[in-house]
């Protein structure tokens, strides 16, 4: 199936794409056919910077177990992080 269900959210950080590092500004998360992974359906994540054009994208296609394990690992890592460490002072980010 091609699902039309897409989670979309603003993000702030950096990703490494085909042309090197760039600032990521937007994430989309959806279940659909993968372009590359050898599965019928995958959990797909696109980290993008629309201002830099379509090629400013880091793409992931994960099978269901991997996606769930990754989400749990992110939650565990964040849960072990001291309060305030990730919400502290930020510097401006080059693109």
């Amino acid at each position: 199936m091609c699902t039309y269900q897409t989670e979309q959210l603003p993000v702030r950080g950096s990703g490494k794409g085909a042309s090197g590092w760039f600032a990521v500004r937007e994430a989309t998360v959806y279940v659909d056919h993968p372009v590359h992974a050898p599965d019928l359906h995958t959990l797909n994540i696109d980290l993008r910077n629309p201002e830099l054009g379509p090629s400013a994208r880091v793409a992931l296609e994960l099978d269901g177990a991997s996606a769930r394990a990754l989400a749990e690992a992110i939650s565990r890592a964040l849960g072990r992080t001291p309060d305030g460490l990730l919400e502290g002072a930020t510097s401006s980010q080059g693109e």
Binding site: T3, T6, D46, P54
Partner: protein
């Protein structure tokens, strides 16, 4: 019958007079009778290698074919997967723009010497719905819907794509329609296909639907695990028969 062909990237005039990219494949050589043109509406993953293979396949069978890059505006020159990701994030292809782009592709095909003045659409995945939409909007001679979803059902809550059901447009369908579906598909699920069949029959439209057991969405896609050779081979035969009757 083997047909020599020329295949190339072209620029065509789409909706609103925009110049958009397309992939054109046409038979060449003497002795080839003109045939109707086929507008290939690519699937949601975009204007990719497989869509171009499909376009060439029509030319190989004697039909000039043109696949407009529906994501030309959002992502000119981008790789198909990056373009598809951008289009998805932007809400997909607006219906009005789709019709304008298909109209431009249809006119481009009709102007070819190898075209007999007839034209059809074929669309896959999101393009299946768009093929039906085009057939309800443009003077086409035939249309093929390959597993198009949300023809009747409303997209899920929160879906950002700008698609709406086409139930109220079915009355405007004025050309024969061929529908090819996978019985295991969930978008469109068999009940949505059955509802569409009922609606078309009730409106007295000329159509034929085939659903394949053991096949799901995207069963024509040879480069994906969803490929189902048995369904795809039979589906292609249905297409040749259908176009043979309506595009000759």
């Amino acid at each position: 019958m083997d047909v020599a062909m020329r295949a190339e990237t072209v620029t065509l005039t789409g909706h609103g007079g925009d110049r958009i990219e397309g992939y054109l494949a046409q038979p060449v050589g003497d002795g080839q009778p003109p045939a109707g043109g086929v507008v290939v509406i690519h699937h949601m993953p975009g204007y990719d290698d497989w869509s171009k293979e499909v376009t060439r396949r029509f030319a190989f069978h004697g039909y000039p074919a043109l696949c407009p890059n529906l994501y030309s505006r959002e992502a000119p020159g981008a790789s198909p997967d990056d373009a598809a990701a951008t289009a998805r994030a932007a809400g997909g292809v607006p219906d009005e723009r789709l019709v304008g782009d298909v109209a431009g592709a249809m006119e481009t095909l009709k102007a070819l010497e190898v075209c007999n003045g007839k034209a059809a659409t074929i669309g896959y995945c999101s393009g299946g719905r768009q093929s039906l939409l085009a057939a309800c909007s443009l003077p086409l001679d035939a249309a093929v819907d390959c597993y198009g979803a949300f023809v009747l059902n409303t997209p899920p809550e929160g879906a950002p794509l700008s698609v709406r059901p086409l139930g109220d447009r079915v009355k405007d369908l004025h050309c024969p329609l061929l529908g090819l579906f996978g019985a295991d598909d969930q978008f469109p699920a068999p009940d949505e296909v059955a509802q569409l069949e009922k609606l078309l029959a009730g409106a007295g439209k000329d159509f034929e639907f085939h659903s394949y057991e053991g096949a799901g969405h995207a069963f024509f896609c040879t480069d994906r695990p969803a490929y189902r050779p048995e369904a795809a081979v039979d589906g292609w035969n249905k297409i040749w028969d259908f176009f043979g009757r309506h595009l000759s």
